[in-house]
């Protein structure tokens, strides 16, 4: 009867196994879909211009908006990028192009960066509180938040920049060096430009992580109700995730709707950033 190598029971088990695997993947994807639909439907009644033109409130749900949170997010993220991007790219250039590979110290730096990428974000909040807010007396300001978030995303930027640099073929460097360019000229004029698409993608993804981050900012003063837009780096601030968090704590249903509407704004912002990242990757993908 059975001329197959595997018996019928085995084949049935194989099918069941495959379906179980598929279901485990589907549960994640389905939860994502339910989450997106739920927040959109829930936030829909308040998804209008008031979110952008009005200031937050915990009393007047009808007229509350999220303007200070939107401007605060833009301020904080701009300075985060300004600090983290150059530092991360320079550090990656050092590790990938200049440092002696496989020295003991180099391995230590690498493990250190990998560990920093996995340190809980709230620990960065503690660092920011102790060092930037209190020891350096920068207080609960935009720059404290930006410095803290910059340290938080730095490992991610370093790791993705190194990958982008590593993907640039060796012979481009060799060609440049053979023509008499110094190592820095080679790195700056040949390797770095060739790696820019990869660096841009990695940086945008790192910054979108910083935009959604709330935990460290809880320790850095973003929780207090801010009904003004920041006017400088030492100004008080709030951000979108913090504003969402503040509204989830309110018991009245209107504020939950407001939270959902603000979540939609935050997710759209992240979606736009991700599209830019994918667009850059697809547009400039080079094959060597």
């Amino acid at each position: 009867m059975q001329n197959q190598l595997a018996g019928r029971g085995t084949l049935l088990r194989d099918r069941v196994f495959m379906w179980l695997l598929f279901i485990s993947l589907a549960i994640g994807v389905l939860t994502l879909a339910i989450l997106l639909i739920y927040v959109t439907v829930k936030g829909w009644p308040r998804l209008d211009l008031r979110l952008f033109t009005n200031m937050p409130s915990v009393r007047d749900a009808q007229n509350a908006g999220a303007q200070s949170a939107i401007t605060g997010t833009i301020w904080v993220i701009s300075f985060t990028a300004l600090i983290a991007l150059p530092t991360g790219v320079l550090a990656a250039l050092h590790l990938e192009e200049f440092a002696r590979p496989d020295s003991r110290f180099q391995r230590f730096i690498e493990i250190n960066i990998q560990n920093l990428a996995a340190v809980p974000s709230i620990v960065y909040g503690i660092l920011g509180l102790a060092v930037f807010a209190r020891a350096l007396a920068l207080g609960q300001s935009v720059i404290t938040a930006s410095l803290t978030l910059a340290l938080l995303v730095l490992p991610v930027i370093i790791i993705s920049t190194r990958e982008a640099l590593r993907a640039v073929p060796r012979n481009i460097r060799d060609g440049s060096l053979a023509l008499g360019a110094t190592e820095w000229q080679t790195a700056y004029r040949q390797t770095l430009p060739a790696a820019i698409p990869g660096i841009a993608t990695g940086t945008i993804l790192a910054l979108s992580r910083a935009i959604g981050e709330a935990a460290p900012l809880l320790l850095l003063g973003a929780v207090s109700f801010i009904t003004f837009n920041p006017d400088g780096v030492l100004s008080g601030y709030t951000t979108l995730p913090i504003q969402i968090f503040n509204w989830t704590k309110e018991s009245r249903e209107e504020f939950q709707v407001l939270a959902a509407a603000t979540i939609v704004v935050l997710l759209l912002l992240l979606l736009a950033m991700n599209f830019v990242a994918i667009w850059i990757r697809n547009r400039t993908q080079k094959r060597w």
Binding site: S24, L25, I27, I109, V119, V223, I244, T248
Partner: protein
């Protein structure tokens, strides 16, 4: 004059560098300094945790902290036994891991061994979108949707803030971490091993379970450990959905406080720098850092060893 030109040319052609390049040295120094920022960060974290922690342990004996069963920092004669925070962290982490390990591993086997290239191209990025959702959004979803629309119907006695909803949603959040790292590990298994198994008559399932998973095991374990580390360190989901009540209990239907949500709650108030409550943030933070540090290093080492085997 002709002689002069000739010697100049000869010098220009010489492979020896003609003059020291100071600019090059300065730039190298700047680059190295940027790389050192990561080391300063680690030292900054250690020092900013250590000093207030030591001050804390001068007031509260470390044994009272580690083995005490009551956490009441805001009372007049507050007690600082961290076990209730630890048990809250453990309960929620166990729930999250019970969701994330089977689903993450299942998803990774499907993506690496079963899915066609086309299906992979759609499903993998979709799963990774999960990793990009801000945790505050997951917290909102756990509290408003999962607890109030779903769990309350299944467990009528459940509290509004409970460990179960936070744990379940955290598990979903960690799926991409576990799935993508395990998939990397499985993709690195040489296809010769699979072909050998097929040649001996194994089915796809037998190959996956008996050949690919064992071959990729250290990479998969590294993914699990990193997932656990993320669960322990996650803050916003528990702060929003699990409540702020320290409880030494293993009942997932009640509210609990974790190490992270204590830090968030205490730290967002305006505490005086020298007060014992302020220092307690750092003591709990130290414990959190040490626990996640051990797991991260373990996971990083496993991945390294795994890479060495197949390269």
């Amino acid at each position: 004059m002709a002689l002069n030109t000739a010697s100049e040319t000869a010098e220009g052609l010489s492979l020896r560098q003609s003059r020291p390049r100071y600019g090059e040295k300065v730039i190298r120094f700047v680059l190295a300094a940027a790389a050192f920022v990561s080391i300063f960060t680690t030292f900054g974290i250690l020092i900013s945790l250590l000093i207030p922690s030591i001050e804390f342990f001068l007031e509260v004996p470390i044994t009272d902290f580690l083995f005490g069963t009551t956490w009441t920092p805001l009372f007049k004669d507050g007690e600082f036994g961290v076990l209730p925070l630890l048990s809250g962290t453990i309960v929620i982490t166990v729930i999250a891991i019970a969701v994330a390990i089977p689903l993450g591993l299942g998803a990774s086997i499907y993506l690496s061994e079963y899915a066609s290239t086309r299906v992979r191209k759609v499903l993998k990025p979709t799963l990774e979108v999960l990793a990009g959702i801000p945790t505050v959004v997951f917290g909102f979803f756990a509290l408003e949707f999962l607890t109030q629309l779903v769990l309350i119907k299944i467990f009528p006695g459940i509290e509004v803030f409970n460990a179960l909803s936070a744990g379940l949603i955290m598990g979903i959040m960690i799926i991409p971490t576990i799935a993508s790292l395990s998939e990397d590990a499985m993709a690195a298994v040489p296809s010769g091993l699979r072909d050998g198994a097929y040649a001996l008559g194994s089915t796809k399932r037998q190959t996956a379970i008996k050949v690919v998973i064992p071959a990729a095991l250290s990479g998969i374990v590294a993914a699990f450990v990193l997932g656990i580390s993320r669960a322990i360190g996650e803050t916003m989901i528990v702060t929003i959905a699990a409540g702020l009540q320290p409880q030494l209990s293993f009942n997932p239907l009640i509210g609990m406080q974790t190490m992270t949500s204590y830090i968030a709650a205490a730290g967002s108030g305006d505490l005086a720098t020298g007060s014992i409550e302020y220092k307690s943030i750092f003591a709990v933070g130290m414990l959190l850092f040490v626990l996640t540090f051990i797991m991260n290093i373990f996971s990083i080492r496993l991945v390294r060893r795994f890479r060495q085997v197949y390269q």
